[in-house]
Structures are given as C-alpha cells and as structure tokens.
Symmetry: C2
C-alpha cells in the first residue's frame, strides 16, 4: 500500500473519530460539517470527498453490514431455507464485528451511543438501505423460485430478518462491552428464529 492510500485511510479515520467525539459531546444535529472539518484541519469541501454526507459518518457501519449480508446470502447453499440463510448472513455480520480491531470496537460503541440518542438516524439507515433490501428480496425470491414483483412472502422474509437484526443492534442495554453486546445480539437472533413457525419460509 502506497503512502497516498495510507494517508487517505488515516484522514478517513481521523474525520470519523473527530466526528464521533463531537457528536457525543454536543449532539449530532448541533455539530456542523465545518466543525468536523476544522477539528481535523481540512476544508469542508474535502470532508465531502471522504464522506458523501454527514449521515454517511454514522451509516457507514450499516452499509458495510448490508453489503456483507448480500455476499453471505449469495454464498449460502441454494437449498437452505431462505430465512435460515438470512440468519446466517446476520451471524456473519456479527462475526465480522467480533473479529475487528479494538479501535473498531471503540468506534462501534461510540456509534451505538450516538444512535441511541438520535433514533431517527436508525431510520435513515433504512432509507439508505432500501436498495439493499430490494436486492435481498430478489435473492430470496430466486431461491424460492417465485417472482419478486408479485410474491409478498419473499419481501416479508427479508423484512423480518432485517427487523431481527435492527432490534438486536439497538439491543436494550446501551452500556456494556463488546462481547456482552454481541452475545445479546445472538440472543435476539435466536429469539426471532424461535418465534417463527417451522417451515414458514419455504
């Protein structure tokens, strides 16, 4: 990796960390892009070259997770029931979180506190992820051999899976360390699986 790319990544993380801290200090809404840019000594214009919007700062995580879910779903055996496959995809996101560095964990914990204080941001992630959900529904419909445009169950399967993931993510109990949180998210996933009638997603 060249100096250029290393510097870029460093700047990206500097922006992210400065922003997360400012959001925690003075709130998401009352923090301006100008302040964030000032804190890392770049111009506001440059900020928008690293993050397409202010939202993007807190949504990069969901974006990454959703992408990972699509990839995992694609790689699961085609004869696996769709909801089961989706739950594996959710678990893949969890594993990815557990395997990341300590710095990433800290960012994640900060992020959770910010999302906790700004619930509308969680919805924003749904807004951003509309395309991803559509793609997941297409993959599920393909597995079930139905047309994604007319089959409601395919959409419902994806919607339930994403609900489980979101509830797990918000998971009550805002404080706590990383293993506590992932453990709790696993519980939520299992709870969702237990709640559904066996074979409902065939």
């Amino acid at each position: 990796m060249g100096l250029r790319e290393r510097k870029k990544e460093k700047t990206r993380l500097a922006i992210l960390d400065a922003a997360l801290d400012l959001f925690l200090e003075q709130g998401y809404e009352s923090t301006t892009v100008e302040q964030i840019a000032g804190a890392v000594e770049i111009s506001p214009r440059t900020f928008f070259r690293y993050f397409t919007s202010k939202d993007h700062l807190v949504l990069w995580f969901h974006e990454h997770g959703e992408q990972l879910m699509v990839e995992t779903l694609r790689s699961r055996p085609q004869d696996e029931p769709p909801f089961t496959a989706l739950m594996h995809a959710v678990r893949a996101v969890l594993s990815d979180m557990e395997d990341s560095t300590e710095d990433e964990h800290q960012r994640f914990l900060k992020l959770r506190r910010i999302l906790d204080e700004n619930p509308q941001l969680i919805g924003q992630s749904v807004a951003r992820g509309a395309g991803t959900e559509r793609r997941l529904a297409e993959l599920v419909a393909a597995r079930r051999g139905v047309d994604v445009d007319t089959d409601q169950l395919s959409h419902l399967i994806v919607a339930f899976a994403m609900s489980a993931m979101r509830v797990g993510f918000e998971c009550p109990r805002r404080d706590g360390s990383m293993p506590e949180i992932t453990g709790r998210m696993t519980e939520t996933i299992e709870l969702a699986e237990r709640s559904l009638r066996p074979g409902w997603d065939l």
Copy 2:
C-alpha cells in the same frame, strides 16, 4: 368551522395536490419547494408553515397511520396478546383508508407511485416514525408486564408488526384500484399472522 380554518385546509390540500403532481411529472428530487409554492401562489416561507419539510409532504400519510395505530393499540383489551392487538391496529389503518373520500384515494394512489419510484422515502418514514415505534414498544412492554428497556421480545413484536404493514403497503403490484390494494394488504397481514408460532408473543 370558521372561514379561516376552511381556507387553511383548502390551502393545505392545494399544496399537497400540486406537489404530488409535480413529483410525478418531474421526480421528487428535481422538484423544489419554490416550484411547489409557485404552483399554488404562496411564498416558500408559507409552505414551511403548512409542511415542516419537503419530506413531510409524502410522509404525512404514514404519520397519520402511526398515530392511529397508537390510539388503537391503547384501546384494545389489555389481556389480548400484543401482536394480535397490533394487527388490529394495522387493520384499523386499513379501514380508515377504505372509509376516506375519493379525493383521498386519489392522493393515496399518487403517493404510492411516488414512493415506488423513490424507495429511500419509505425509509425516511421509518426515520420519522422512530418515536412512534418506541411508544408502541412501551405499550407492548406494559401489556406484557416487562421493562421496555431490557425486554427484546417487546421490540421484536413491534418490529414484526411494522414490517408486515410496510410490506403490505409497498405491496407488489403498483397499479390497481383502491379495493385491490387494500385487499392485497389484508392478505399480507394474514400471511404475517400465519408465519408466526402461536403464542410467540405472550
């Protein structure tokens, strides 16, 4: 109702209709508040007194529906299982739609086409409705006699119910008349009810 209030309601609907038509003609993003205000001959400043934001134009419907859900959930017998009560609340929203005027139906159909072309707006409604979902979760937790801050199932029940409603709302098959659509939404609700294990929400 005085002249003042009647005039206000008339202006409100004029703005709404002009906006929906402009959105359909030239897209949501490329329509500006200035254009909408111009079409109904009011100042942009006045527009923001009728609708708090541009989003609000397409989200007023969800807002109304969610408020109705909260009210309905409150009025259902306390010993009814929470998910059943929530499904009654969803049906209440459907009935409310069916009972509204022909003009309202037309607005709803236009709105659906706009949301269909701008999926991110559906997510926006989730963002806006974050507070409502929280309130619903509190009501469900109260029914179940648990603490909303620590009980995951209460959140999952609400999330599943809202998922069912959203899937029904987007319901594949974008064309179609009002009774076709509400019929299809009813199907979705029943599908969701069948998918869950009896007694899962106790």
